[in-house]
Symmetry: D2
Subunit: 132 residues, 4 copies
Amino acid sequence: MHQEIINLHPHPSSLDRDALLRCIDDCLDCAASCTACADACLGESDLPELVRCIRLNLDCADACDATGRIVTRQTAPDLRLIITMIEACAAACVACAEECERHAAHHEHCRVCAAVCRSCKQACDDLLATIV
Amino acid sequence: MHQEIINLHPHPSSLDRDALLRCIDDCLDCAASCTACADACLGESDLPELVRCIRLNLDCADACDATGRIVTRQTAPDLRLIITMIEACAAACVACAEECERHAAHHEHCRVCAAVCRSCKQACDDLLATIV
Amino acid sequence: MHQEIINLHPHPSSLDRDALLRCIDDCLDCAASCTACADACLGESDLPELVRCIRLNLDCADACDATGRIVTRQTAPDLRLIITMIEACAAACVACAEECERHAAHHEHCRVCAAVCRSCKQACDDLLATIV
Amino acid sequence: MHQEIINLHPHPSSLDRDALLRCIDDCLDCAASCTACADACLGESDLPELVRCIRLNLDCADACDATGRIVTRQTAPDLRLIITMIEACAAACVACAEECERHAAHHEHCRVCAAVCRSCKQACDDLLATIV
């Protein structure tokens, strides 16, 4: 329902509506996916192989969470702040996707999480392309 | 896709699966809705009437965000921690819903946000009912 | 410096000032300590023994982060929301402290983190005692 | 005490220790300061003049919170992720400082918050200078 609330803003931002909503939704899904993947990795028997995956999952969850909140706000935005934040989010998604992909053959949760990160990276790039 | 990752955990928690997934999804949606409603309120011409609404939106977003992360984790949970966190989340949702409802007639975003908060409160209660 | 800003609020909350500031500072320090302890645990050679410690560190960081933000706000508070949130934070601190203490003899970071969690739990209890 | 835990990491990161600890502390203080300044602004009688200040305070709090968590982690870091995140944090601090400075003559909390944001921006730049 948050999409509906975003669309009800009294002074909607000038950002491309579809690209904005997709970026927000992907950030939310990616933050939750990375939190869940880090937790699933913690339960695996080959845990020592997954240390870097957990660390990047945690970073990516934090970056996506903050970015999702910031791009949700439409009142009086600062474009440079938004652009650099989306760039940081995209970098976090790439780093996490690459590491998750290394474990995709052994762990389904890493395979799915990598796909979510790739999608979120694309949503960030697409939103950036409508801004700059 | 985060639901799929949660279902791929090597040692799923013993919590009721449907109640858990609904609580997680409602927490994510409610956190994003409250962030968006606070921001929409900031753009309204009757802003001084909406001060308490903004404050409770911010609180509810923070409570739902933390609760969503915590209930997402299935590895080695502490039940008392989880129960008190869900109770705090439910209290935040009720407080925010009641305030949003006071503005529902004038602001569609408050009307929708109140409904999201009520739904999340119910999801918290339903998950608690399966635990205690 | 955030303490100074809190003291400059135009309508300070009626909560006990010393108890409030100590709770905020302890929540900030505990959130950062738990994030650092989870990360230090990830680097230890006996990582499989530390799975529950990492999980509770992550939960406690999230609970303290949200609670720190909520008790920082003084405008138009909802007391029930604040009380349940502080209770959840105290429960998270106890759970994390107990687990960290199990590893305190082998890991200095767990020993220090347990002390931070105990202090934050006490700060939560002390603030609650001034409210209820 | 979180500084002590960071120093007890079994495999400390290669980042400059002093610059790292200062950046972490400034991110924590700036996140809390921006949360408190947004809340103080909500209580002011000239609230409509402070809309942009509140919005940028919220953004800066989220950026500093995520950055503080990410730079706290020393296990298996991804440098590009860290660099872009610190850059986003610096951009958030500049945007928030500039807006807070516009209100510094009328609101002490904005004056103090601007100084905190400027300090955090410098800490980010100094840490970046040791990396790149």
